[in-house]
């Protein structure tokens, strides 16, 4: 296949970026989207031009590194698929493809298609854990968890933290990401002691990072490579409301290992 690519090039965070057009003359339908970019990059290097910077690592749809807007859709046209798992057989000869980075204020561009997603780490830092030190946990089977509950928790826990939900949202909201972690832990018995403070603190951090609000368009669910459901957003809203009304006052920072 022959393709025409329009790619966002930006030298660094401080300079202005622009779309640049490249030809991809020898594309096999069996290539992954990133392998197609690899080939383009090899050609660019041969011509003495700097290759296109993009994020990728595992290339099997689980690390959450890859992050491209492909023709305006986060991770491209195939449902439930990360960019690295998208194969060129989805496209046809002569197609023009627009490739852009995630677009969100809270994800500033570092270079070309690479953005800074450290805001997600800070949301987890605000409470996306169970406070349990390594040591003498009780036997794993002491606390039975109904299979349905464990399965639902797993549905939420599958989030790979890629940020497609934010990129797809017109408000650049991180509600799907945040609610996935709030729900994963909030569903399980192990997560109950911190359930309220977790919901409050993670939502607060999310707002602080500059992510927008949810206005129920469900664009996030539509592009999520792990098909995380928006019902977790509703669940987080209930937890948040409950914690706001019944919560135990202002939050102290979670303790570490000093006790």
């Amino acid at each position: 296949m022959k393709l025409k690519l329009h790619v966002w090039r930006q030298k660094n965070a401080k300079t202005q970026g622009k779309m640049v057009t490249y030809d991809a003359p020898n594309v096999s339908p069996h290539m992954s989207f990133l392998e197609m970019l690899d080939v383009v990059n090899e050609d660019l290097i041969a011509k003495g031009e700097e290759p296109i910077a993009f994020e990728h690592d595992c290339r099997e749809g689980i690390c959450g590194s890859c992050s491209l807007m492909i023709n305006g859709v986060a991770h491209g046209p195939q449902k439930a698929t990360t960019t690295c798992q998208l194969h060129m057989r989805t496209f046809k000869d002569g197609d023009e493809i627009y490739i852009e980075p995630w677009r969100a204020k809270a994800f500033p561009i570092i270079k070309d298609l690479v953005v800074d997603r450290s805001a997600f780490d800070r949301i987890i830092q605000a409470g996306g854990y169970v406070s349990v030190n390594a040591g003498g946990a009780q036997d794993a089977n002491c606390l039975p968890v109904p299979k349905d509950t464990a399965d639902q928790a797993m549905d939420a826990a599958q989030c790979i933290g890629c940020g497609a939900c934010v990129a797809a949202c017109k408000n650049a909201s991180a509600m799907l990401f945040t609610s996935a972690k709030v729900s994963h832990l909030g569903l399980l018995p192990q997560g109950q002691p911190e359930r309220q403070r977790r919901a409050l603190n993670m939502v607060q951090q999310m707002d602080k990072e500059g992510f927008g609000n949810c206005t129920n368009q469900y664009e996030c669910e539509a592009v999520c490579p792990k098909e995380i459901s928006v019902r977790f957003i509703a669940r987080m809203n209930r937890d948040y409301l409950n914690a706001s009304i019944c919560g135990s006052g202002p939050e102290k920072k979670a303790g570490g290992g000093e006790d």
Binding site: E60, G64, Y129, H184, G256, E258
Partner: protein, 636 residues
Amino acid sequence: MNLDPKIPSGPLADKWTSYKGNAKLVNPANKRKYTVIVVGTGLAGGSAAATLAELGYNVLCFCFQDSPRRAHSIAAQGGINAAKNYQGDGDSVYRLFYDTIKGGDFRSREANVYRLAEVSRNIIDQCVAQGVPFAREYGGLLANRSFGGAQVSRTFYARGQTGQQLLLGAYQSLERQIAAGKVKMFPRTEMLDLVVKDGKASGIVVRDLVSGKIESHAAHAVVLASGGYGNVFYLSTNAKGSNVTATYRAFKRGAGFGNPCFTQIHPTCIPVSGDYQSKLTLMSESLRNDGRVWAPKSSGDKRSPEQIPEQERDYYLERKYPSYGNLAPRDIASRSAKEACDEGRGVGEHGLGVYLDFRDSIQRLGADTISQRYGNLFQMYERITGEDPYKVPMRIYPAVHYTMGGLWVDYNLESTVPGLFVIGEANFSDHGANRLGASALMQGLADGYFILPYTISNYLAGVSRDPVAASGEAFKEAETAVKDKTAKMLAINGKRTVDSFHKELGKIMWDKCGMARNRAGLTEALAKIPALREEFWQNVRVLGEGESLNQSLEKAGRVADFLEFGELMCADALTREESCGGHFREEYQTEGEAKRDDANFAHAAVWEYQGEGKAPKRHVEPLVYENIKLATRSYK
């Protein structure tokens, strides 16, 4: 080189308990006076960094990814072993220990492996307490599945994403400690050298991958948890960024490298489709619980699978290894697939593939059950190949997956450089010449949560509590060397891309040091690799600048180290004149099975760096078996 394994005395089952009882402790108020560097945030590094911080140490933690959650442990699919015996099927610590030693073809250290089996039970407890959503039965208790090389069901799993869920558990604990100010996290930062000062590991030199700045960090101890070196083959199931740099630089600073030739070829990966291929994708070993492996009986049979009648199919694992069948260990299953393909019975466009067929289990259990067990794997397969495995058998072929070799460590997980600890896949310790499925996750978390925190405290208790600084001759020399090397790579401006060198090296390694090795091939590789390395330093083209995000420069540094390391692997493979586990020397076999030589090779080979341009020196640590009898591994 001192290779004293420092195994505690006493009966095997009491060694770890007695070690813990006698280990030196650091009192809580003094712990905060120590700084520990942890490189890598996978299961081993992430769990170690979190646990050391929970104990009160100051931790500086580094990863090259944009977030610690993306380390390649995340991609482990099938599960984690633990000797819980929840199924009541005869499992025990001893049995997991024995299976691991036997699976490793009797090339690992008894005491370390026993400890691993012992703490495996705590790992499950810890992870459940963190909220890891393991698969459960309707009664609410944990579910198990079987894995290769075992006759019990001891593998815990979270759908096909066990590594992800375990890593997120460790990552969340790590983030909690970052929030608490006990861990300073350096994402997008790559370790480029180890600093040894007064004979002790004292710090590292790193490059900030965004700003390009090269700087040093000092600590009272350094922990490497930087994973394996499978990417020396270019094509592997490893993430694109996985590399040998951290461990190889430590090797050049005096750390012995153990058994570099012990690499694991995983039997069930999606076959290569073209020369643009950038990585290989694993299909979890758990699939072999319900999938049957076969190839056509006659060579050159190009019919589509459904047209090949039952009597013309060769279910070769079931035929050759009736008691383990499709669950034969990885090295054996891989070699059998290669044999079938070498005989011209391979399937698919290039003839490099065999079938993994779910027809019978779909008939027996229904498509719904199969989908519940493996749905996401089937989906992934279909995305990559465009074929539906519910209807057409999967095509699979072996691919490089894991490296059992790594930096040599003693019972303390300490390398030959005092103060340098190595954990997880980066060390050589537990899997001998072949790792059993679902044991990598177990080892990573055992090292990080339950072993290193004890052994490193024992070390730190004997080290001065004075603050450390990244200053002095050793730091300056290491930093300058890194800067010079970076500048040199940028200045060459030759004609070939980094990837083209990496691919060429990978092909040499796969052809000559892959699933089967022989003297002539290895000798040839040992001539080709230095020539390729020389060309690299004359003719590589790395564009862009050092003071910014430069992915070509990152790759170039990693490939430069692979170009040296590949030679070490081949030298190790050449000198190990026996076949064991994943190391199959064609000269040493009986009826197609590996022929071990316990009289001459019941040891770990440990390589010592001798300086630029000099051949490294081979030392041995004899493996002493006090509790089990060396036996010919049989899965028949």
